[in-house]
Amino acid sequence: MLGDVKAAHSAAEEKLVAEFARARGSLPGAAPVGALRDAAFEAFKSAGLPTRRVEAWHYTDLRMAMRDALPVAPAPKADASLKQKLEKLAPRIADLETTRLVLVDGYFVAELSDVTPKGVTVTALSEALAKGDAAFVEALSAPGMGQGDAALALNTAFMQGGVIIDVAAGTHVAQPIEMIALSSEMSAHAVYARSLLRVGKGAQVTLIEREVSTASQIEQRNHALVVSVADEAQVEHVFVPAILKSASTYVASLLAILGAKASFNSFTLVQGGGLLRRQIHMRFDGEHAKGQLAGASVLRNKDHADTTLVVQHVAAHCQSREYFKTVLDGESTGIYQGKVIVAPGAQKTDGAMKSHAILLSDDATMNNKPELEIFADDVVCGHGATVAQLDEDQVFYAMARGLPKPVAESMLLEAFVDEATDRVESEPVRVYLTSLIGQWLSQRGAA
């Protein structure tokens, strides 16, 4: 009977099958990579695009949202216009020296990128895949993470661009690495980028993923970053996805694996734009590691932003923190799904998860699903979730002190979101994030 329920492929799924057949020959990689792609695509084909029937996608129906499947973006030409666009759309973050790596439609463009400091090696995905080194392919595929996720399988099947960053053991990278993803916007296309950050034992690095687009074309993005944090290494990570044109779809996956005494702190700022799904899998493989996932989503119009986290405590004595804030205006939909799994034996796990949302409009919807799955008894785990409106008393108080209502509201909303951005370590990055949120707030009255 199960077979009957699974209807024939949708138009987008049919297109994806055709597109895979068309592009398969030109996608980079040696033979073992080809096998990986084929297996992933088969897995996608049998599952289809995720619908709400898939519990992990309970509030996001990608199959419904993707009416069509766009062709894979071709490799761009690194000409002067791209350089201009880069300078215009991605000015330097104030007070912050970074090492820039530039990707256009997912493809790494060395000509536009900075030289990397000592101890850091950068390789284009295509080059690494062509070599097909077994250890690399295994690291890139992050075994055991996000299994059964059809969107991630699609990324594996089509991965056409991306960058591999290796930080040698013991290296303390002083300047943050700034990965800038630019859209060529030459045509409506799909981008499947897969990147890998490998941080050696005891090394320290900050990675800022910053994406820009003028949103002139509908895009379909499927992006995945694998972060492997070796024992005692420390990684700070900030992700600011592009605001895409409405009707675009974006699945941004992060797969993080932490070794013993490692530390990983990741922040995501979502500013809406079509359908965006941020999915993060974090796994503790070694004891005494600390992981924090934080983020803020500010949404309006018909934005649909889904933040889904799976945190797996496999090793004992680890600490996880999840902290997300969502502000919803217009007819937007916000989703927070967080699942903390404590495996048998992961004793002394300390997990705390919070999701707070403010609804500014009667037409907005917030869905929260914070889950705990606990198989060890000596743990301290908890979660909290709230949905509310702006505190009228606070607004009134500020207005009574002479602030016009929009200013009062903006001030309170900024304070609300700040509690999340405060978790970003670097001050210049915090200031940058706050300025983006300020821009969003300033457009509130205008909209």
């Binding site: 929260n368 914070p370 889950e371 799955e373």
Partner: protein, 489 residues
């Protein structure tokens, strides 16, 4: 504090074999042939001498059921049920229909005595019990006795088996049956609609505060018999009733199916308080036998300012699949869910609630305490939803889990959905264990490890126990201790 001492004493008095309701009674029964088809559905309907509309209603449900799939989303795992290998109707032979208590088979009365449920009114009146409780006793599929009927009738309260209400109050049954849980609702509810045999019917007229607590006691006795009761409670405008439900079953090596449906309706300003102490046989320590408890319970706060409150203490059943819910349709209506779910041995519990806010200024409160021990798995699954029209919806949820031992699991899966800017939802959940320090502290003061555990667990569930009527609270407390026996070293 007397209750705690009582708990401690009870733990001691119970033999190693903890399930004390596990006896089988030798009572002759009349059964329909095994299996399910339209003829069986007609047979059940005919046995009850039902009107044509109800027979048709059942058949429609049966046909729908054939097209449905058994749900698989819950965190429970069990072998496929062969629905053709069950008896769908079993009645004690000596009671062709509800009777005067004096005509009830004395053997049956002894069964209820053994269970601690007096069915003779004079015994209750003569006893030490201060509060009187009217009881409807359901044995396998049939109501065998309902007490205090006459006194309730004086107040205008109707309390009788639903099979009787079909004949005596057809207009009420027809109006409300299936109006909260439609025949198409879910696999088990649909099956119940096709084959339900009996259950209780309650109607409280406008403005009446039911003069005593009403109670149904369910007992599965027969082997290979599914139990499918149907309970329907209507609280008319401005009325109030407190209803208690208890359940036990004999120990058997096979699994037994229990798929009940409970529908509650409150009109303007009415209130229903529904309490359950569920102690179906949980199976043995290795997971052999036990009841599959697949129950649909839902209340509809149809009227303004009405209130429905569910309180449950779930200690039994091999598998519990149960989500007593409230539809907060009337403006300013209120829904409450208080739950203690304890799992030990190989028990699997997937239980919680749904609070569906539809009306304006509706409020709900969820307090759930899950305790897992042995090799059991205990899941809280709940939904809180504010629809667009539900201005000022308020919910507070608190889910706490306690783990005892390293081989059990505790899970929390809440769905919190707000489609209205004025909704305020708060949700908190924690997971913890009984700390070695707490145990040592209690033992240093003279309590044994088991006494200390019982004391700490009773503290953990106190917020919920306080919601139960007194007699039930005492029973629940001792059940908790018994259920956790053997879980501490």
């Amino acid at each position: 504090m007397a209750a705690v001492q009582e708990t401690v004493d009870r733990v001691k008095s119970v033999d190693v074999d903890a399930y004390k309701y596990g006896f089988v009674s030798d009572i002759e029964s009349e059964k329909a042939p095994k299996g399910l088809n339209e003829d069986i559905v007609r047979f059940i309907s005919a046995k009850k001498n039902e009107p044509a509309w109800l027979t048709e209603w059942r058949l429609e449900a049966y046909r729908l059921w054939l097209t449905m799939r058994e749900p698989d989303w819950a965190r429970v795992d069990y072998p496929k049920i062969n629905y053709q290998d069950l008896y769908y109707y079993s009645a004690p032979k000596s009671t062709p229909g509800p009777k005067n208590i004096d005509e009830v088979d004395p053997e049956l009365l002894r069964v209820y005595e053994k269970l601690g449920i007096p069915l003779r009114e004079q015994e209750i009146l003569a006893g030490v019990q201060e509060r009187r409780v009217a009881v409807d006793a359901v044995f396998d599929s049939v109501s065998v006795a309902t007490t205090f009927k006459a006194e309730l009738a004086k107040a205008g309260v109707i309390f009788c088996p639903i099979s009787e209400a079909v004949h005596t109050h057809p207009e009420l049954v027809k109006k409300y049956l299936g109006s909260v849980v439609p025949t198409s609702d879910n696999y088990y509810a649909t099956l119940n609609s096709a084959v339900f045999s009996d259950g209780s019917f309650v109607y409280i007229p406008p403005g009446v505060r039911c003069p005593m607590e009403l109670s149904t006691y369910f007992r599965i006795n027969e082997q290979n018999t599914g139990q499918f009761e149907r309970t329907l409670i209507i609280a008319d405008k401005g009325s109030y009733v407190s209803y208690l439900e208890g359940c036990t079953a004999p120990k058997r090596d096979e699994n037994q199916l229990h798929a009940a449906v409970v529908e509650l309706i409150t009109l303007d300003d009415a209130e229903i308080k529904y309490s359950t102490v569920q102690n179906w046989y949980p199976g043995d320590a290795d997971g052999k036998g036990g009841i599959y408890n697949f129950v649909t319970k839902r209340g509809d706060c149809r009227g303004a300012r009405s209130k429905i409150s569910w309180t449950q203490v779930e200690t039994g059943s091999a598998i519990t699949w149960k989500y007593p819910s409230c539809i907060l349709r009337g403006d300013e209506s209120r829904g409450e869910f208080y739950s203690i779910a304890i799992s030990n041995g190989r028990q699997q519990v997937d239980s919680g609630t749904k609070m569906i806010h539809l009306g304006k200024n509706t409020t709900s409160r969820i307090i759930s305490k899950g305790i897992s021990a042995g090799r059991s798995n205990n899941t809280y699954r709940g939904q809180v939803l504010a629809q667009k029209r539900a201005t000022n919806a308020r919910n507070f949820t608190n889910c706490d889990s306690l783990l005892i031992g390293e081989t059990c699991g505790a899970h929390t899966i809440p769905y919190i959905e707000a489609k209205n800017a004025s909704a305020v939802f708060e949700h908190e959940a924690t997971t913890s264990k009984i700390s070695e320090d707490q145990l040592f502290y209690c033992m240093q003061r003279g309590l044994s490890a088991e006494e200390a555990t019982a004391l700490i667990v009773n503290g953990f569930v106190r917020d919920v126990l306080q919601q139960l009527p007194m007699e039930f609270a005492v029973e629940a407390q001792k059940l908790i201790s018994i259920s956790l026996e053997g879980s501490v070293g």
